[in-house]
Amino acid sequence: MTKATTLGVPAGGRADPARMMEGRERRFAAALLAPAFLALMATTTFPLLHLGWTSLHRMDLAMPYMDGFVGLDNYRELLGDPRFWSALGVSLVYTFSTVILQVALGLALALLVNGMRRGQALFRIVAILPVVLSPAVVGMVWRTFMLTPEFGVVDYLSMTAGLGSHNWLGDPSLALLSVVVIHTWQWTPFAFMVLLASLAALPEDIYEAARIDRASPWLCFLRITLPLLRPAIVMVIIMRTMVALTAFAAIFTVTGGGPGTATEILNLYAYRKSFTELSMGYGSALAVALLIFTLVVTGVLFALRRAK
């Protein structure tokens, strides 16, 4: 009892200086944090709650007289909506193919460049260009100067190679491939830069030992490089998956989700439903589904990361 009082505020009314300092520090820290946290709550947490609430309503900006609380009706409708399942499928294909391509190509190039004695700087500079550009501008450049039939460079190359001219963005079977290529083009440099930095940081002496043991380069790669690089690769996979799941601008610019729904990932569907068809309630339910989908994928990835 007496011990507690000497540690806290003693009987004489004089506060213990260390304790007072700590209290002051806490108050000071709270004051520094408060504005940022209020802003974060206002711009992220509050909208999310609002989103959940809206998803329980019918809200058509075109037919406001029909608005009202409908409980879980939007979600019931969603489960029977073929366009939702199609969007989920496109999201899965888009996410997995872009992430795998980025990591595979990024790793290959990082290995190539890491072995170079000169010219690494050139690759580092060039790799910056795509990743700092706006995906909307990148999408526009690809849509017009690269992929326009009989005018774009890709189509020109295709014709020169004898593969003929194709409607890269208008043909449903090619459109998804095209947007995957565009995303991969823009973000492979990211994987490349991160993996190159990790490669450069690997210890030299292990390779020295392997060389003395006359291990083949392939064996060195499989047994030494890949295991040491694993944390970096997993990190790149997680980050790229998160970004692919929120992708919007490039697809919106290039195809708008079309032709039909060929490139309509969940983001695009939620956007189109809310802002083109003005069905905010159902659009909100789609956004909540997207959020759940993102959480599931993130959960799986982090579980994978923890597993050895």
Binding site: R26, L33, T43, L112, I125, A270, Y271, A287, L290
Partner: protein, 279 residues
């Protein structure tokens, strides 16, 4: 020996191909900005031509000038950067160097907000901003940009604040300096490099944002990424002008990217590295 030479040639060829694949689309669209409309449309595509600034003249000083759009982009990006830094510097300092109640949770909260799909934020935000009449206003768009710029800036700054030795503050306290003065006079100058890098990235992300801008833009707020669409329509594409607009939209971010090149990897990975460390 012969095998080695062949391998070297193959490796050089492969890396050269990568380099070309990355540079070419950017180079090609930039090149087209300096062509006349006839040269753009020439078949086969022309690499050698008489360069002209006509397209730039048209999009800058012609009847459909994009100067207001460039100004709009700058107002959004600079506004977002200023507000973000004012909020993020104190918060990052507290998270990195002070005893904060619920520190772990605060950190996790900041991280989690970074993972939200933007489309999930824009639907409620549109409804709210519509009710208070903030659609097509700078305060509306800057406010919502905080949703992604603030968590990013806080995490990046925390990593720089954590690198400083703790003795620095202790010495200042012993001299009787107030905590706020310590932050302002002693700590902040030590992390100016980190602050500068954060400014670059926040500006860059704001300049590049598209989804929020599509929904919230109008006649007042109309960044250059949106105005680009004026040059492509179903009837016709104004090729050289579109190329010129793209070039102008690319220019600031390419300059910033090259200035900040040594920090790009850190800027791109900061959240994930941190999240991994805390788990």
């Amino acid at each position: 020996m012969k095998g080695n030479k062949l391998r070297l040639a193959l490796l050089l060829g492969a890396s050269g191909l990568f380099l070309l694949a990355w540079i070419f689309p950017i180079f090609w669209s930039l090149l087209n900005a300096f062509k006349s409309e006839q040269d753009v449309l020439a078949y086969p595509p022309k690499l050698i031509f008489t360069p002209t600034l006509a397209a730039f003249r048209d999009v800058l000083f012609g009847p459909t000038s994009i100067v207001p759009n460039l100004i709009s982009s700058f107002i959004i990006s600079i506004g977002t950067t200023v507000v973000t830094m004012v909020l993020a510097i104190p918060a990052a300092y507290a998270l990195a160097r002070l005893r904060v109640p619920g520190k772990k949770w605060s950190g996790f909260y900041v991280l989690a907000t970074q993972m939200l799909p933007p489309v999930g934020i824009i639907i409620p935000y549109f409804l709210i901003l519509r009710d208070i009449g903030w659609i097509d206003t700078y305060q509306g768009i800057i406010l919502i940009y905080l949703s992604f710029s603030l968590p990013f800036a806080i995490w990046l700054l925390v990593s720089y604040f954590e690198d400083l030795p703790f003795e620095m503050e202790e010495a200042a306290f012993l001299d009787g300096a107030s905590r706020l003065m310590t932050l302002w006079r002693i700590i902040l100058p030590q992390v100016r490099g980190g602050v500068a890098v954060t400014v670059v990235f926040v500006f860059l992300n704001a300049w590049n944002e598209f989804l929020f801008a599509v929904v919230l833009s109008g006649n007042v707020v109309r960044p250059v990424t949106i105005s680009m669409f004026n040059f492509v329509s179903v009837e016709q594409t104004l090729w050289s002008k579109l190329a010129a607009v793209s070039a102008l939209a690319m220019l600031p971010v390419i300059i910033l990217g090259i200035i900040a090149q040594k920090h790009i990897v850190k800027g791109l990975t900061v959240g994930a590295v941190k999240g991994g460390g805390r788990r």
